[in-house]
C-alpha cells in the first residue's frame, strides 16, 4: 500500500504540477489587440503603438475596475517590433502577449517607405505573431488613428475590431486582408490592404461607393472610416483604390469573400434618378487565362444575383420584362466598363494585378520554373482582358409594384 501511494503521488504530481511550468495568470498578461506601426524621426527606427485591452471592463468583474479605461495605449520607438515589445515592458507591469492580436495598423508614411518590408517581413518570424491578423493602412500615423478611435458602443477594443471585420463581408468597401494573404503576394502581385482614417474630409459624390476613407459624407459619430484599399507591391505601398474599385477587384477574383453588397446605378428607365440594388454571389467567377498567344488574354465571367430593394424613380419594374432586361443590361455594361477602367489603370500605373489571376495562370504551366520564367506581371501589363458580368434579378423586394405616389401627383 505504501509503495502504491508513492507511485500515485508521482502520477498526481505530474498531472497537476506540469501546468505550472509555463503558467501565466490572466491578470498578469497584457493582451495587445492592435499594433500601430509608424516611421520614427530617426532613420531606420519605427514607432510601435500597442493598444492593450483591459479584460476587466464590461465583465462581471467590472465593479472592481470602475475607473479603469477599457484600453491602454503605449507608444515606443524601437528598431523593430520584437524589441519594442520588450521595451514596452519597462513601463508595463503586465507581460505583453500577442495571442489576441487581430489587427496591425500601418501609417501610410511607413507603408510607402522601403523600411516597411523589412519590418513586416521580420515581424512574422516571432512565433507569437499570428498569420490571421488583419492589416490596415491608415492615412495618418497609426498612433493618431488608435488615439482618435473612440467608438461609443464598442468600448472594448477587441470587440470593435471583431465586429467591424464581420461588417466588411457585407459591404465589400474594403478588402479582407490578413497577414497570411500578404505573405502569399510578396512578389510582383498586388496586395490590397484596408485603407482607413480617423480624419474627416467629406466630399459628396453621385456614386455611393467611389469614396476613399475620410471622404464619406458623415457628420457625427466615430471619426473612423474604413473604405477603399492601399495597394502594396513587393511589400511597399504604391497607391490607393477607392471603395468601388476595391469592390470590383474582389468581384474579379475567382473566390469572392464578400457575402453581399449594395450599389447604386443610374436608372435606365428614368435617367434622372438612381436605382440601388443588392448583389449576392453564390458561384465562383470563372477565369481563363490564355498564355499561348501574345499578348496574353484573360477572360473573366462573374455571375451575380441582384435584388432590387430600392427604386427611386418609382418606375414599375416588376411586371415589365422589357424594363428588367434593360436594367440588367445597363448594370452589366456599367460594371464591365468600370472593371475595364480599373484593369487599364492597374496595367498602366501599377503594373500588376490584385485579382489573384496569377494563380489561374499557373494552371497553364507544367513546372514552377516555367511559370517563373514566363513572368506573369510583365505579361499582365499588356494582356487583353475581357470581363463579362452575368446578372440575374433574384427578387424585387417586398412590394409587388412601387407605391402609386407618382400617379397621384399628376
Amino acid at each position: 500500500m505504501r509503495r502504491i501511494g508513492w507511485k500515485l503521488g508521482i502520477v498526481l504530481a505530474a498531472l497537476f504540477l506540469s501546468g505550472c511550468g509555463e503558467r501565466l495568470e490572466l491578470e498578469m498578461q497584457a493582451f495587445v489587440v492592435a499594433i500601430g506601426l509608424d516611421k520614427a524621426e530617426k532613420e531606420n527606427l519605427i514607432e510601435v503603438t500597442f493598444q492593450i485591452s483591459n479584460p476587466q471592463v464590461n465583465t462581471s468583474q467590472a465593479a472592481e475596475a470602475q475607473k479603469e479605461p477599457p484600453a491602454d495605449i503605449v507608444t515606443i520607438t524601437a528598431p523593430d517590433l520584437l524589441s519594442a515589445k520588450e521595451m514596452a515592458q519597462s513601463s508595463l507591469p503586465r507581460k505583453i502577449t500577442f495571442s489576441h492580436l487581430e489587427t496591425i495598423l500601418i501609417g501610410e508614411e511607413l507603408a510607402r517607405d522601403k523600411l516597411f518590408k523589412h519590418i513586416i517581413g521580420s515581424a512574422i518570424i516571432d512565433p507569437e505573431m499570428r498569420r490571421e491578423a488583419m492589416m490596415i493602412v491608415t492615412k495618418e500615423p497609426a498612433k493618431d488613428f488608435i488615439k482618435n478611435n473612440n467608438p461609443t458602443m464598442e468600448t472594448r477594443p477587441h470587440k470593435y475590431y471583431e465586429f467591424i471585420r464581420q461588417n466588411w463581408k457585407h459591404t465589400g468597401y474594403v478588402p479582407l486582408s490578413n497577414l497570411n494573404t500578404f505573405y502569399q503576394r510578396t512578389d510582383h502581385e498586388l496586395f490590397l490592404a484596408v485603407y482607413a482614417t480617423a480624419q474627416r474630409d467629406p466630399e459628396e459624390h453621385e456614386n455611393d461607393d467611389t469614396y476613399l476613407a475620410g471622404q464619406v459624407p458623415q457628420s457625427s459619430g466615430d471619426p473612423v472610416q474604413m473604405m477603399g484599399s492601399a495597394i502594396l507591391r513587393n511589400g511597399q505601398m504604391i497607391g490607393t483604390l477607392d471603395g468601388e474599385e476595391t469592390r470590383l477587384s474582389q468581384l474579379l477574383r475567382r473566390k469572392n469573400l464578400i457575402e453581399a453588397m449594395t450599389a447604386s446605378f443610374p436608372d435606365p428607365a428614368n435617367e434622372e434618378y438612381r436605382i440601388s440594388v443588392v448583389f449576392n454571389r453564390s458561384e465562383n467567377s470563372k477565369i481563363r487565362v490564355n498564355t499561348d498567344r501574345s499578348p496574353a488574354k484573360v477572360e473573366v465571367m462573374v455571375p451575380m444575383k441582384m435584388r432590387i430593394n430600392s427604386n427611386l424613380s418609382l418606375e414599375d419594374y416588376t411586371r415589365n420584362e422589357e424594363r428588367q432586361k434593360r436594367l440588367v443590361k445597363a448594370v452589366e455594361e456599367r460594371l464591365e466598363k468600370k472593371s475595364d477602367e480599373l484593369v487599364m489603370k492597374l496595367q498602366e500605373e501599377y503594373g500588376g494585378e490584385p485579382f489573384v489571376w496569377y494563380a489561374a495562370t499557373r494552371k497553364n504551366f507544367w513546372t514552377m520554373k516555367q511559370f517563373e520564367d514566363y513572368g506573369w506581371s510583365e505579361h499582365f501589363t499588356e494582356a487583353d482582358v475581357d470581363i463579362d458580368f452575368e446578372i440575374e434579378i433574384e427578387s424585387f423586394g417586398e412590394q409587388i409594384r412601387p407605391p402609386s405616389l407618382k400617379q397621384g401627383g399628376k
Binding site: 511550468g21 498569420r131 490571421e132 464581420q166 497570411n180
Partner: protein
C-alpha cells in the same frame, strides 16, 4: 521466443501501431523537406514513395508467410548469422538515430510554437524518458491497445482540422501541377521513401501478429492511409499559404491549427490540437523505442530486451541534445533518410533473391 505479453495482437491494433508510427510525420518538419523539393507538387511525393515501397512490401509478405518468422529471424536464416547481425545493426541504427533526431525536432516545435521559456532538455526528458518510455515499458500489447484507443481520435481530428480551414483554401495554388518537374519529383520520392520505410521494418513484429491475413491487411492499409493523409495535408498547406510562403514556414501543421476557426467565436483552438499531438508524439516515440530495443536485443543476443528500453531512451535524449538547433539536425536527418530509403527499398529484394537462390541450390 520471447513472449512480450500473453496474447498476440490483432490486425486493427497492428494497423494502429503503423498509423501512429507514420501519420504523425505531417506535423514535424517532414513537409518542409517535401515542399522544398516538390514545391506545388509535393503532395504527389508521399503517394509515389508509397507506390515505390509497395513492390518490396509485396515481395516481403509471401516470404514472411512461407517461413512464418519475423523479419530479423528471416534475415539470420537467409543471409547467415554474421550478415544478418550486420543488417539488423543497420536497421537499429536507422531507426534509433531517427528516434533521437525526431525527438529533438518535436522538442523544438514545442519550444518554438507553444512554450518558449521551457528548455529543450526538459521537453526531451518528459517526452522520451517520461511518457514514451512509460508506454514502451508496458510491452507491445499495451502499446497496441493505446494506439487503438487514440488513432481513431487522430483520424477524426485531422478531418475536422481540414474542415475548419476549408473556407480559407484556394485550390488554384496547387498549380503548376508538376511543381519542380517530373524528374525531381520521382527522384526525391525514392530518396524520401524512408518516411514510409517503417512498413518494411514492422516485419520484425510478424511473429506477434495473430495471423498472416491480419498482418497483410494491416500492412497494406498502414501504407496507403498515412501516405494519403500526408498527401492531403501537403496539398492543404500549399492551398493555405501558397508558394513561396509555404516553403518559409517552419512548422506548417502548427500554423494551420492556429488558422483553424470554429465559427467566429472559437478561433484559438490550437490548444486542443496541441494536446492530441503530444499524445500522438509520445506514442510514436514509444513504438520507436520499443522497436529499437527489440532490434538491439537481437544484435547483441540479449533476450530480455525490454530492459534495454530505459538506457536507449536515455541515449536518445543525450544524442538529441547534440545539435545546437533543429536546422542543424535537419541535415543529418536528410542524410539518414536517403541512406535508410535505400536500405528499406533493397532489403526485401535481397531477401527474395536469396530465398530463390537457396531453393534452387538445395534441390
Amino acid at each position: 521466443m520471447i513472449r512480450v505479453s500473453d496474447g498476440k495482437i490483432g490486425g486493427r491494433e497492428f494497423f494502429a501501431i503503423i498509423y501512429s508510427m507514420m501519420a504523425i510525420r505531417i506535423t514535424n518538419s517532414t513537409p518542409n523537406l517535401l515542399l522544398d523539393s516538390g514545391i506545388t507538387a509535393a503532395w504527389m511525393m508521399p503517394l509515389l514513395s508509397a507506390a515505390f515501397l509497395l513492390g518490396p512490401l509485396l515481395l516481403l509478405l509471401p516470404l514472411l508467410k512461407k517461413h512464418n518468422i519475423g523479419l530479423v529471424d528471416l534475415l539470420y536464416k537467409l543471409t547467415g548469422n554474421a550478415f544478418g547481425r550486420l543488417i539488423t545493426l543497420a536497421l537499429f541504427v536507422a531507426i534509433f538515430s531517427s528516434t533521437s533526431l525526431n525527438g529533438r525536432n518535436y522538442a523544438d516545435i514545442v519550444t518554438t510554437m507553444y512554450y518558449p521559456e521551457t528548455s529543450v532538455l526538459l521537453i526531451m526528458v518528459v517526452l522520451i524518458l517520461g511518457a514514451s518510455f512509460y508506454i514502451a515499458h508496458r510491452g507491445l500489447e499495451a502499446v497496441s491497445r493505446t494506439a487503438l484507443l487514440v488513432v481513431p481520435v487522430f483520424m477524426l481530428t485531422s478531418v475536422f482540422l481540414i474542415i475548419s480551414v476549408a473556407s480559407q483554401l484556394n485550390y488554384y495554388y496547387v498549380f503548376p501541377i508538376a511543381g519542380s518537374g517530373a524528374g525531381t519529383i520521382l527522384k526525391d520520392s525514392v530518396a524520401y521513401s524512408a518516411f514510409y520505410g517503417d512498413i518494411i521494418l514492422i516485419g520484425i513484429l510478424y511473429a506477434y501478429v495473430r495471423s498472416h491475413g491480419a498482418f497483410r491487411k494491416a500492412a497494406l492499409w498502414g501504407l496507403w492511409v498515412p501516405a494519403f493523409k500526408m498527401a492531403v495535408f501537403l496539398a492543404v498547406y500549399v492551398m493555405m499559404f501558397d508558394y513561396p510562403a509555404v516553403q518559409n514556414i517552419a512548422f506548417p501543421y502548427h500554423h494551420l491549427t492556429r488558422m483553424a476557426m470554429i465559427g467566429t467565436v472559437a478561433n484559438h483552438v490550437e490548444a486542443v490540437f496541441l494536446a492530441l499531438w503530444f499524445i500522438g508524439a509520445s506514442l510514436h516515440f514509444a513504438i520507436y523505442l520499443y522497436l529499437s530495443a527489440f532490434l538491439l536485443g537481437k544484435v547483441i543476443n540479449y533476450r530480455e530486451f525490454e530492459y534495454l528500453i530505459l538506457p536507449l531512451a536515455g541515449i536518445a535524449v543525450v544524442l538529441g541534445m547534440i545539435p545546437d538547433n533543429h536546422l542543424q539536425g535537419e541535415q543529418w536527418r536528410k542524410l539518414l533518410l536517403e541512406v535508410s530509403s535505400g536500405l528499406f527499398l533493397l532489403l526485401p529484394v535481397l531477401l527474395w533473391v536469396l530465398d530463390r537462390f537457396r531453393k534452387k541450390a538445395k534441390p
